[in-house]
Subunit: 342 residues, 3 copies
């Protein structure tokens, strides 16, 4: 289990300064790592924290190397390097193949799959090699679950949805629930529009706990390869999320929004329906995106907070901004008049 | 399965222009429909999209009829017409009656009900005719589930809640969890207040995936007939939602709020506690409703977003609005003084 | 079941004015209570509502006593008094000990525990005395569940998490899902960082329906004693929440935020990552906390809402606040110039 520093460098590259024979048994943060642990410094602005570390060695960028009092692995991308070492040293524990006797499996499932206690796989579902389906998870009729996908406990996949290879889906996530589609009767009642589309989730997607992805009304909701969704995200019907886009917790995406590739969306941001977001757009936390974004860049709409009494005085003015602008315009006119006279 | 256009018009009305013998097998969006599919144009401002459609026929409003190059069904309300045809051509697939052998049913349940794998119906629950209870769903003691209600997989209904007829409740929804009620001890600790009320859900209500509805503290939380709740909505204890109100995803409604009939609430809006909202109020997405609304109308409080550098410059001013207003007032006084002199 | 008023006062204190022999059978709100029910007035500003009550007696503060037309129990803290009486008169119904035959229990569980239908307790878990594990709930390997904890239906606890004594965890809650941690490859792909830490939940914590608490990346996510979390709250990896802090529904807390003791966080507020919040801080509903708060107090950042047409005119100005400030500054300079001349 313990590995030598020179083994790490042989496997992942980087320049080692220090004793390659030192053995490490895991990774820990700078301020908690002990002499048998490796640590990392992802952000150069915190380099002063190096001084007190007790780690066996630190993964860091060239510009921080001089500040490091212990052995170090120097690399241009220390956070990525840390991720690679962590995947090697702390692999996710994967349950062994086999079907729990309480599971209900109505479809053909390969022997390499792990089907947990009380899990349910309906007739007509296709389950790939080495798939894990956790306790109390359900995979409905005609779903396709790609090789090596991993559903945690209590995941619900509605009929006919496709999940790509190596997906990780956390507890309470729901894929394929009905989109929110209704037509209004003249008397105000709502008539349900059948949601006849599906959900297509690409390869290497992660879906967080209690995140929901609705099926399309006509046509499908699409999550492309490599998308990462945090917990409690809501993805409405017919949304299209481009490859390698990442969204933080509590984001909401309304119907038919089309989001580009490699975007990042901060926590609790909201994207309204039928909008298009270009590739490589970053949305800040708490921002409501109410119109399309056609250029890559960072966009923000959150308001600053204040001590409550200050807030009362300042934010009440938001209701009178137009009047303030009118008064400025009136002042400008009167002043110009005076200046003409003087 | 395929139907003729004149069959559609015979059933749902409208004026057909074109060959009534044309056969259609389903509905598709304007840009995807093929020559055996019906399509629709719900919004007249997109009528230019008609030019390229390959649909067999299009459902549309009279003012768009002239722009349609293919057969058409003309009606005053094309979206409602589409919904009716879609319900007929794409009915929701309903599972057959019967109890899965792994279900646990401690109550009397009619033979017409469908109880899924590992579902649980506790003693004293009353389950109506043709009810569907999905895999891993639980219905606790003394609940009443109305005829034709449909619970998807992994729905949790706490003890004593009443669900109306034809309800549709999606996966992960929770009905009847404890309201958030605590009294504070002088030392800051919280003392739980028992939540002794229940939840009453009317007929024809739809509840989205992972939506939560808390039971009342004293008295009940009430969702009237025809209410439609999207995914991940939080309804706190003792809230009352009037008939035919619809809420989009991620809305939060705090305790004892009373919301009128036929309201619409946009995604991620928040309604604070103990407020009253009149009938026919529309709340825009992302709006925080912090005081009661007594008049029908549309209300909005969301902020626009900007490119990040622009946002920094503009939104920082929010902290100084009162100072800006003071400066305008001072300018007005000084200018009046000068004007008097000149 | 019915109790006499003088029994209430003998047990909980306060000053009784009225006939101690009157018998009450429960608690109800002022406007609903009948002559066999006790009621309470928590907020003195609503004292005018006392006039019409039909309650047998009212719990209230000294300054409201004179306005009460019926018997009364006078106490400095009527809401806390009400909570105590309600716990006594309306105790939460707790299911009896025993294992449902459909439960899967791979660990040693005490005879005093109640394990519900289809519940799952994995090998190596430690379950305390009198613990309730509801239908379809799962407790994974190496978890520790403290004495008297109560998991409702469909709760998911991932491997190795610790839940304190007397915890109440509502349906759909998830504890221990992976934190959202990824390093970005140069081509934009995301590399998963194993989430090797756990979750430690203290004693007397309540966790609402569909709330999610992620496990730490390195080190643990910590919820201290007495914390109360409402429904649909998202707690990211390595967050630390101090004792007796309470959060209302839909709050989001980003990674590594450190929140003090006895704080309150209003509904749908968002706390960004790596921030520190002092003890005794109150965050108003809908506030985005984007920097640390070092002083106790109340902080707010929500925007007021307006009738939509008014909103259009006023909130559009938010994009031009810097220009408005520039124009005020220019006016001040020109006016000073004129004043010099005159």
């Amino acid at each position: 289990m313990p590995v030598r520093l020179d083994e790490v460098v042989a496997r992942f590259g980087g320049d080692l300064a220090g004793d390659g024979a030192v053995s490490i048994s895991g990774i820990a943060p700078l301020d908690e790592a002990g002499p048998d642990q490796l640590s990392f410094l992802a952000n150069a602005k915190y380099r002063s924290r190096l001084a007190d570390t007790r780690a066996a060695a630190v993964i860091l960028a060239p510009e921080c190397a001089a500040a490091c009092p212990v052995a170090r692995i120097v690399t241009a991308q220390p956070y990525l390097y840390y991720a690679r070492v962590a995947q090697w040293l702390h692999p996710l524990p994967r349950p062994p193949a086999g079907r729990h006797p309480t599971s209900v499996v109505e479809a053909d499932v390969p022997a390499s799959a792990c089907i947990g206690a009380h899990a349910y796989v309906a007739a007509g579902a296709v389950v790939g090699e080495r798939v894990v389906i956790g306790a109390h998870s359900s995979v409905a009729e005609q779903c396709v679950i790609g090789d090596d996908a991993w559903l945690a406990a209590s995941v619900s996949i509605y009929r006919g949805c496709r999940i790509g290879r190596r997906a990780i889906i956390h507890s309470g996530a729901v894929v394929g629930s009905d989109g929110f589609g209704f037509a209004r009767e003249p008397d105000g009642q709502w008539l349900k529009i059948p949601q006849s589309g599906g959900v297509i989730v690409g390869d290497d997607v992660e879906i967080g706990a209690n995140t929901t992805i609705d099926r399309g009304a006509l046509g499908d909701t699409v999550i492309e390869d490599g998308v990462k969704l945090d917990n409690q995200i809501q993805v409405a019907h017919n949304v299209h999320i481009g490859a390698h886009t990442a969204m933080a917790g509590c984001v909401g995406v309304a119907g038919s929004a089309r989001i580009g590739r490699r975007c990042t969306v901060g926590g609790a941001a909201v994207i309204l329906g039928h909008l298009s977001i270009a590739d490589d757009v970053n949305i800040s936390a708490g921002t409501l995106v109410a119109k399309s974004i056609t250029q890559a860049g960072t966009y923000t709409g959150a308001v600053p907070f204040l001590e409550h009494a200050e807030w009362l005085k300042n934010f009440a003015r938001l209701r009178h901004l137009e009047a303030m602008a009118d008064r400025i315009r009136a002042l400008e006119l009167r002043l110009a008049e005076l200046e003409k006279k003087s």
